[in-house]
Amino acid sequence: MALIEVRDLSRDFTIRKKTGPLRRTSVVKHAVHDLSFEIDAGEMVGYIGPNGAGKSTTIKMLTGILVPSGGSARVAGLEPSRQRRELARRIGVVFGQRTSLWWDLPLRDSFELLRRIYRIPDQTFRRNLEDHVALLDLGELLDTPVRQLSLGQRMRGDIAAALLHDPEILYLDEPTIGLDVISKGRLREFLRALNHERGTTLMLTTHDLQDIEALCDRVIVIDHGTAVFDGPLSSLRVNGGSSRTLVVDLVDEAAPIDIDGARVMKVEGPRQWLAFPAGASAAPLVAQVAAAYDIADLSIHEPDIEDVIRQLYSR
């Protein structure tokens, strides 16, 4: 049996709008609509989709915060909305843009309180604290109140906190949002190790394609509340037909660059935008351009998840 089972899951919201001084009309919005998927123990799944696609609503139903309006969800053999507190002991949840730590208390106190309310055995607690504090580099921050931590530090603290009780599943909502490149890299490394060494199942929502690339073997794309893609990232890329962009600043203005494997999207003075397939390497293109022109500067723009999904739809 899969660890997470979602069957025709739906959640409708009724939105009341004022349409006149006294009149109100209600509109039913299907935030999640007939959503089905299964996730096995030990998987790392990226759960992506544009804003308002129903990602958070799904996570809220899988954690038992929201009650589904239709269909069913089972997580670790439990029904989240009915067995919310029991489920809480078996999952960890990290919300990227807010903290579940106690804002005015030092990290150490938050950890200590979690030890008590989850009734974590001493040995487990000590081992997890030692491991995660070392790996997440939190040692010097333990006595700092959470409100004084930087975004990256706080995120690491939140993740360590969510893992103290050895959850089988870790939900991460935008874990790398607002982090710098180095912090992102370290966080991804930590999550990968967590999955490999402890077998923790990871489900993360993100806007950052590189999170998915670094972590997830499998991607579920949701739009308008329904899964529109479920499979490995590579096939999403190919299916999506999205492209990377090479931005070239030439020393002198020139006619649109004509090279194999790329096409010019836009020319603005000496700057030109070249699109090439997302699966291809930029190196041969750069070599071709450099051989024919004097280059002042170069940069490469990765397609973001929004682009990939937009492409997925425009086809």
Partner: protein
């Protein structure tokens, strides 16, 4: 559920979790002892001034609504103790709207502790003991006018417990309204702090309709008015039945039941709208 096999086990789990969270906040406050004691003593002084206002009024009059200063002090002491204890224990619940907006409520719902317990214990402030101390002081000053016997002592204890429960319910019920309109915290204040202020005065100064409302709609009159009539050996000037003077626990129980319903409805609403 592991900890909720029986209602008793559930309650024990809730109370234990409450004190775990509260203890953490107490420890955090004690990390700054000077600040803690300044705020505590400040609390005593500010609430003391509150009573001075009533005391000054009595320098011009001998009785107010037929009650002497010490009799009013008895009413004041009983409602203040009950209200301040309730405020210390569950007052944080009025931040529901804020917790909904910040998403903290979602985080609370992913923890294995009842949400209401987490809301009430959040930012537990031990320094409110100062305000409770003021209520106790006023009560102690008024106490000698009562002809104490075991029966009256028992009624006093029952009254204080019921009073705390009644104010618990007022705090929780009116805060729960924020699940429907997130900006209703001022509205809740009118009934919590406002309720306590009204109950500091003898009901005889209010029109009959107000007293009726405070008996049957929002039964704050059971916090101090009816039981204090008994302590003072008086009958109700508005002619309420004599047994009302012992009915505070009944009023408290009825209100607890109602509050549980309102809270469940509120949380159910949140769990089906997410906002």
């Amino acid at each position: 559920m592991a900890e909720a096999d029986t209602p008793a086990a559930y309650l024990a789990h809730a109370v234990r979790s409450y004190w775990l969270i509260a203890a953490l906040w107490i420890r955090a406050a004690m990390a700054y002892p000077v600040s803690f004691w300044t705020m505590t003593v400040g609390g005593v002084l500010i609430t003391f001034l509150d009573f001075v206002a009533i005391w000054l009024m009595f320098s011009h009059i001998d009785t107010y609504g037929g009650f002497t200063l010490r009799e009013v002090a008895l009413l004041y002491g009983v409602t203040s103790i009950a209200f301040r204890v309730a405020d210390m224990l569950v007052g944080s619940v009025e931040k529901i709207g804020q917790k909904v907006r910040s998403g903290d409520l979602d985080a609370m719902m992913t923890k294995p502790v009842p949400v209401l317990v987490q809301l009430c214990a959040d930012r537990f402030e031990l320094r409110r003991l100062g305000q409770i101390a003021q209520g106790i002081a006023v009560f102690a000053w008024a106490a000698p006018i009562v002809d104490w016997n075991p029966q009256r002592l028992l009624v006093l204890v029952m009254t204080l417990v019921s009073g705390v429960l009644i104010y618990f319910c007022v705090f929780i019920t009116f805060s729960t309204i924020q699940f429907w309109t997130t900006d209703a915290s001022e509205f809740a204040n009118a009934f919590t702090y406002g309720g306590n202020t009204i109950m500091q005065y003898p009901m005889t100064i209010f029109p009959r309709e107000v007293v009726r409302s405070l008996t049957y709609l929002l039964p704050l009159a059971f916090v101090n008015w009816y039981p204090c009539l008994f302590l003072l050996g008086l009958t109700d000037p508005y002619g309420a039945p004599d047994w009302f003077r012992f009915a505070s626990p009944l009023a408290a129980l009825a209100l607890v039941g109602l509050t549980a319903l309102v809270w469940r409805q509120g949380l159910r609403r949140y769990r089906s709208t997410g906002s």
